[in-house]
């Protein structure tokens, strides 16, 4: 009775809501609130040098020269040598690279003939006063894996940066530094002190507070790692990532989400703008349905009723998200426990939705495709 009264009340105060939508999802992992960003695996590092008389000298720490490349973008060094021996050189010009804001012209040097360890590389015939060299070691066992949690944070929330150095054996010594796009720096540690989980496991961790932003903005990170491998040879790696930070304009009111058999009522704090409330329904660790509703607010509070159709009654939890359609930020994300009103769906049936190609497309695929 109380639940019905709450729902009735909410239905009366819902403001300018439209576009209710729901549907079944192909079953997939339940992301939960505060899910991490993607992992960035890097076997790359970048060095820079000042050019004098057309020459620049850099020290490259090589862990696996086989297949390794040193690439100069935006300049055309005429040669590169280590201990007086010239390295194989190839120029390129690819206009497509400019679509990714990279210089379309450059030169690559093959480092395969070099030995592991520090190598002093001398570049000659440079035209610009400074040079940036990207070194990739695709066949090296040493990789830096960078991840940020959560991917979407609110200003003031903690953001954890995890950088794992994976190698044949544990690295002997390493310094891992994160530079943030707001100018701050963060030293990542592998000392077992929070937020680092375990000392000496090669996973370096640090945390920072998501800064105040105007509505919504990313904070980018560049993580630079350097040190000695297990056998004492030097290494360097770099990777970048980003956390998307929202300064909430609204939020879910303290009374929380009200659950009824037919709907979830999500109370919003007073705000102005366009908002979307999205709900993912899940059973166990499998998300299988969603519903959403949008609302336009002009400074008032609102309660948004999001459908809970019968097809979702097997859910034992709902992930409620409040999205700001003006800033494209994530204002709030919370998990709401549900009492299942029916059995969990048969995920094997829901997952069997392979869509056949139309006949014309199947024929075209046979004629024009290059499978291998």
């Amino acid at each position: 009775m109380k639940r019905a009264w709450v729902l009735l009340l909410f239905s009366l105060v819902v403001t300018a809501a439209w576009a209710a939508e729901w549907g079944v999802l192909e079953p997939g992992p339940y992301p939960g609130p505060a899910s991490p960003g993607p992992k960035h695996s890097s076997k790359l590092y970048v060095v820079r040098a000042v050019v004098e008389n057309g020459q620049a000298e850099v020290v490259l720490p090589l862990t696996q020269p086989k297949g390794a490349l040193a690439v100069v973008l935006g300049d055309r060094p005429q040669g590169a040598a280590v201990r007086g021996k010239a390295l194989p050189r190839r120029e390129f010009f690819e206009p497509e690279l400019s679509a990714m804001d990279l210089s379309p012209e450059g030169v690559r040097f093959d480092l395969s003939a070099l030995a592991p360890g520090e190598q002093r590389l001398v570049l000659s015939g440079l035209a610009k006063p400074e040079v940036q060299i990207a070194v990739a070691e695709p066949e090296s066992p040493l990789a830096l894996s960078l991840q940020v949690t959560p991917l979407a944070a609110r200003s003031g929330e903690a953001v954890v940066v995890t950088a794992e150095l994976a190698d044949e054996r544990a690295v002997r010594r390493a310094q891992v530094l994160a530079r943030l796009s707001n100018g701050k720096q963060l030293l990542l540690r592998d000392d077992g002190e929070a937020p680092d989980a375990r000392a000496g496991d090669g996973v370096f961790t640090g945390a920072f507070t998501a800064p105040e932003v105007a509505g919504f903005a990313p904070v980018e990170l560049r993580v630079e790692a350097g040190g000695q491998r297990w056998d004492g040879t030097p290494f360097a790696r770099v990777a970048t990532a980003a956390v998307m930070v929202t300064k909430p304009a609204s939020g879910v009111a303290p009374e929380g989400v009200q659950v009824a058999p037919e709907a979830l009522a999500v109370p919003l704090l007073p705000a102005s703008g366009r908002f979307r409330v999205e709900v993912l329904y899940a059973a166990g660790q499998t998300a299988f349905a969603y519903a959403q509703e949008e609302v336009q607010l002009a400074g008032e509070a609102a309660a948004v009723s999001v459908p809970r159709p019968q097809e979702t009654w097997g859910a034992d939890k709902a992930l409620v998200r409040l999205l700001n359609l003006d800033t494209l930020g994530v204002e709030a994300e919370l998990e709401v426990p549900l009492t299942p009103l029916g059995p969990a769906p048969d995920f094997r049936v829901l997952g069997q939705k392979a869509q056949p190609l139309p006949a014309s497309k199947a024929e075209a695929a046979r004629r024009f495709g290059d499978p291998r």
Partner: protein, 276 residues
Amino acid sequence: MRRVGWTLVLSLLLGAPVWGKTGVALVHGKGGADLANPSVAWDYWTTDMIKAVTKNFTVPYVVCHYDGTKYMWVAAGQVAQQLYDFITQQGITDLVIDTHSFGGIVIRWIFSNPTYDWRYPTIINRTRWINSIAAPQKGSEAADLAGTLSGSWLVGWLVDLVGENTDSTRNCRTDWMAYYNQYYLKGTAGRPALPKTVYWISGWGLWNDYWWTFHYQDIGLATLSGIAGLPGEDDGMVAEYSARAVGVQWFRTEANHHHNRRNDFRAIGTALGTDF
């Protein structure tokens, strides 16, 4: 007469508009601001490609043109106006949209957010399906590399050497696409389905011009693929796992990112033309 009557009835029953008019739209990828210029957008695809897609210009078409440096929702505003005008002015009821690279993201924004813009529902309703060539649906490690090398981390004049990333390049980074995929876009695993089917074409070739004078362009793409660490197979700019993250497989092509928007190394345009 009876046959005509039955045809009408059957057409109505099957939902195929009797007086329907088919059209095709091409939506290019990211690049410079000058892609807002129709002639630059045309050159992006090349005349041969457009001719093949439209079956020698017999299928009504629009070559969309938008500023290639902008975020997907900004680009989508420009594209939506052109699609809306094309649909309404030419009476198109059966639209096929062909996209290349970031163009696939721009279109996915429109189809994921029908309430965002009043023109979107008309476009969605009139669309038959979307063919998405080498779209960085989960982002591109090449865009990540552009961020790693970008001037924003540097001081002094070196910033001028490497430049700053545009909004569209940031949009294509893997973190950014992970974010938008999770919260604002439909079609990836664990997200609501798109209202119309996407058929993807992914590229796995790099050395398309090995025997030609433009071999140095191949070297550029192969170099990018190597230093960006594109996982699995890729077309030099977009890894296949990313191009395949949304929709239904149409086919894979050896054409690299330079050629898979053209009708030269492989007959991609002719393949797209089989829709008509």
